[in-house]
Amino acid sequence: MSVPDAKTEPAEERDDVEAGPPRKGKPFGWSTFIIAVLVAVSAALVWRRDGFDAVWAILFHDVSLFGEIMPRVLAGCLLGGLIAAVLPHDKVSKSLGPDSGLKGLLIGTAFGAILPGGPFTAYPVASALLAVGADFGATIAMVVSWTMIGYGRAVAWEMPIMGPDFTLWRILISLPMPVLAGAFGRFVYIRVRHRFGL
């Protein structure tokens, strides 16, 4: 693959499918504003209820958590950038595109299930797949699979807190869900995309 391909193809594709709004939000969009207000109000309520020490304790805990996950966010973003560059556009459109059928949904599901890391990996990688030609259905299957049958969260958090019995049954029940959600997404998408400008 030549360099211009790697850089311009996804960008052109984006411009084709989407009229106007930027692919990713600006660093401070409306959703950031809502959260900022929510955080400020919550912090003020904690301060009124429990005093300044409680605010400080929560802040200190969350800042150290932020420092801990920053390297992983960087790794996830770089992984997303690399996957967008490495995966051949034509092959991705064929195996994960709108006409990929059940196979595309299954590939998306498998990809989501084996993807390492947390939200800092899953979302940049899913975004990269969309950019190189995967359709909404396969990407939905991937994201839902990562949330419901991905091992990362299940092993690190669910197993210790909920117990292995609940976790394993919950995962077993979840197995068909990514394909169902992806198929439903595909079914709805082709019917509403023009109406909602998707």
């Binding site: 990713k24 959260i35 919550s42 932020f66 839902v144 958090w157 169902l180």
Partner: protein, 165 residues
């Protein structure tokens, strides 16, 4: 321990894919790393706000409100309330799963808890706004959430029919 393994897998796959890119063309590698780095810079302010602020949001929403309606005899209304509770639960995985575990111990029905955990995993509002929207096109995220709405209900139905977990 598990976080160490996840870190190793994450950085290992980054190095692996980076090696593939380097083999294809060195400029592909540098362009890809630069694009990834730009994404990182764009996303950091929002992640910072979310992670540093989520503790305050979690502190003012008492878990008793969230698990209030998950009793064993609540049926489909209980499932629907669990789905809403899952979407409304703030904070990270510790908060979500702990509320689920407390609900199980205090006698909530398992289909309701399954619905709660699945709904929380699929569309907890805080994760959607703070993690998913910064990284992905917003129109995809809202569409994904909308078509995922039946999933926790389906999971609860399977749990009811099989009597598991």
């Amino acid at each position: 321990m598990t976080t160490l393994i996840i870190d190793i897998l994450l950085w290992g796959s980054l190095i692996g894919v980076g090696f593939v890119a380097w083999r294809q063309d060195r400029t592909v590698l540098t362009v890809a790393l630069r694009n990834g780095g730009m994404d990182f810079i764009n996303v950091v302010p929002r992640i910072a706000l979310g992670v540093i602020g989520s503790g305050f949001i979690a502190a003012i929403i008492p878990s008793s409100i969230i698990v209030g309606g998950l009793g064993p005899d609540t049926g489909w209304l209980g499932v629907a309330m669990s789905v809403l509770a899952g979407a409304a639960t703030p904070g990270g995985p510790v908060v979500g799963f702990s509320i689920g575990a407390v609900a199980l111990k205090s006698g909530a029905g398992t289909p309701q808890v399954v619905a709660y955990v699945v709904a929380w995993a699929l569309f907890a509002f805080q994760r959607v706004i703070l993690w998913e929207i910064p990284f992905m096109p917003a129109r995809f995220v809202w569409f994904r959430c909308a078509v995922s709405v039946p999933v926790p209900f389906l999971a609860a139905a399977v749990a009811m029919i099989t009597g598991k977990p």
